[in-house]
Amino acid sequence: MTLAATIRARLSHDFTLDVRFEAPPGVTMVFGESGSGKTTILRCLAGLHRPDEGRIAIGALVAFDSGLRIDVAARRRGLGYVSQDLALFPHMTVAQNLQYGLARLPATERRRRIGAIAAQFRIDHLLARRPGGISGGERQRAALARALVTDPQLLLLDEPLSALDHVTRSRIIEDLRGWNAAHAIPVLYVTHSHREVFALGERVIALERGRVVAEGRPQEVLDTPAHEPLAQLAGFENVFDATVLGADAANGTMRCLLPGGAELEVPLARAAPGAGIRIAIRAGDILLAAGEPSGLSARNALRGEVRSIEREGAAAIVMVDAGCRFQVHVTPAAVESLGLAGGQPVWLVVKTYSCRVVWNQSRES
C-alpha cells in the first residue's frame, strides 16, 4: 500500500499548490510553515478539495485523475482524516462517534471493533461520555480512534496533537505507532514543528510556498536545509548572509566573511571567492566561553559581547554581538557558572560542520 500523488491546485491568484510525492507505509511528516499548502494537500487527498489537475492513487484505488475524469467521492476513498479541530460529533457519545463510520457492518462486528480500538487507545472508560465532557488529550485519542476503527487504507492527520503537552503527545504517538505496526498503511502527518518531525517521522516532505523543496529522512532533510525559511523552521536560529573569502579544498572547508567583519570557517561549497552564501547555525550548537579558548578542535572562535539573557523554559537564550548578532542556547546553570551578564565579553565557539550553507549564489546563476 503506497500513496502516489500529483496535485496542482490554484488557491489564489498568486498561490498555486504544485506537488508530486509518494508515501510508503509508515509515518511521513508533511512539514512547512503555515500557508505552505500542507492542509490543502490533505484536503485534496481526502476528497474535500478538488485539485485542478493531477492524479491521486491510494494503493490500487485511483481516487482522482484529471486526465481520466476520475474523482472518487470522499466517502468512498476509504481513508481516515483527522482535522486540526478534530470534528468529533458533539451530540453523540464517544461510542456513537466511533460507531459512526461502521454503519455497514453487522452489530457484533461493530461492537468487537469498538471494544478493540477503545482498549488500544485507552478510551474504554469514556465511551458513554460526550466530547464536551472529556479532556483535550482524550478528545485527540477519540478522534484518532474514530478514524482508525474504519480500517482506512490511508491516514491523514492535520496537526492533530499540536495542542497537547509533550508527554501526552508522545504517548498518543506510541499508540499510533503500535496500531500501524499491525496495519502498515501510509500515514501523512502535517506539522510545522521540527521537534515533531524528529520525534515521529520516518520520512519527511518539506513544503515551501506550495512546492516540495526537500524529501527524505528527517535527519537528512532538516540537517541540510537547502532553503532559508526551511532552515528557520528546522530550528536554525542563526541565519547569516556571508561572502566567500577562499576555499581550502584539501580540508573540505572554506573561509567566509560575516556581516560586521568576523570570519567563519564553513564546509566547502561550490562557490567562488567573492560569491554570496547564506549560513545557518543552530543556537544549541554554539558554545560560550568566558575567556579566549585555546587547544580546541573547533575551528571558529569569535569574540563578542553579551547583549541580553532571557530564560525560556529550561533554556537560557543569550544574545551575543560579534559584529553580527548570534543567538546561543545554554542551560541556566551555565549562565550562572560563567557569571554571564549584559556587556560582558565572551567567545563563541562554533564547529565548522555546525555551519550549514543553505543558499549559494553561485548555484543559483
Binding site: 474535500l48 470522499a74 466517502r75 481513508l79 479541530d85 470534528a87 451530540h91 464536551g132 478514524a147 474504519t150
Partner: protein, 224 residues
C-alpha cells in the same frame, strides 16, 4: 368569547405548521448548502412575505385562487368547491405567508453547523442524506423548534391575508384575529379584551419558549 374562531385558528395554525415543517426543511437545506449562482433569487422570494403588506400578498393570492385563474379552476375541478373564501384557501395563503418564519430560523441553524463535522461525516463514509439526518438535523433542533413555533404563532395572529383571501365566514374562515376585529366593530370591548388577552398570553409564552431554546447553553459548552 368566540370559541369557534379560536378552535378554527388553532386548527389552521397546526395544519400550516405541519406543512411548513415538511416543505421548510428541504427548502432551508437547499438554501444553506446549494451553490447555485441564482440562489439569491429564491432567497428573496422566500423572504418576500416579510416585507410585503399582507393586503398585497392577499390580493394576488385572491386573484390566483379565483375561479377565473388556472389554479382556481384546477382546484374546483379537482375538489368540487372553490378555493377563495374557504378554509383550504386560507391554509394555502397562510403557508405562503408564514414560509419565511419557518425557513429562516431553520436555515440559520443549518448554517451554524460546523462544516468540519460534515466533512468528517463524509470521510467516515456517510452519504449526504445520512449526514443531513444524523448530523445536521440533530444539531439544528433549536432552529427547527424556533421555526415551527414562530410559524404557528404567526399563522395564529395573521389578519390582512385572512381578510383578503378568506373573508369572515364563521366556522369557515373567521379566525381569532378577525373575531377580535368584529367584536371591536360591534363595541363588544369586554369580549374583545378577553380574546386579545388570550392571544397576548399565548404569544408571550411562545416567544419565551423560543428564546429559552435558542439560548442553548449546553450545546455551546459541548462545542469546544
Amino acid at each position: 368569547m368566540d370559541w369557534q374562531a379560536i378552535v378554527l385558528s388553532i386548527r389552521l395554525a397546526a395544519i400550516v405548521c405541519a406543512v411548513l415543517l415538511a416543505i421548510g426543511l428541504p427548502i432551508a437545506y437547499w438554501l444553506t448548502f446549494s451553490r447555485w449562482r441564482w440562489k439569491f433569487l429564491v432567497e428573496a422570494v422566500v423572504a418576500l412575505p416579510l416585507v410585503l403588506p399582507p393586503t398585497v400578498l392577499g390580493f394576488y393570492m385572491l386573484l390566483a385562487m379565483g375561479s377565473r385563474s388556472p389554479l382556481g379552476r384546477l382546484w374546483e375541478r379537482w375538489t368540487g368547491h372553490p378555493l377563495a373564501f374557504t378554509f383550504d384557501g386560507l391554509v394555502i395563503a397562510s403557508i405562503l405567508y408564514s414560509l419565511p418564519f419557518a425557513v429562516q430560523p431553520i436555515a440559520a441553524a443549518f448554517a451554524q453547523v460546523d462544516r468540519g463535522l460534515l466533512e468528517a461525516s463524509s470521510t467516515l463514509g456517510s452519504s449526504r442524506w445520512r449526514t443531513a439526518v444524523r448530523i445536521v438535523l440533530p444539531l439544528s433542533v433549536h432552529g427547527i423548534v424556533a421555526g415551527v413555533v414562530l410559524s404557528f404563532a404567526h399563522t395564529l395572529g395573521e389578519f390582512g391575508v385572512v381578510l383578503m383571501v378568506g373573508g369572515n365566514l364563521p366556522g369557515q374562515t373567521r379566525t381569532v384575529s378577525i373575531a377580535i376585529y368584529d367584536q371591536v366593530q360591534a363595541f363588544r370591548y369586554g369580549e374583545a379584551n378577553a380574546t386579545a388577552l388570550l392571544l397576548l398570553a399565548f404569544s408571550f409564552g411562545v416567544l419565551s419558549i423560543v428564546y429559552a431554546l435558542t439560548r442553548r447553553p449546553r450545546a455551546i459548552a459541548s462545542r469546544t
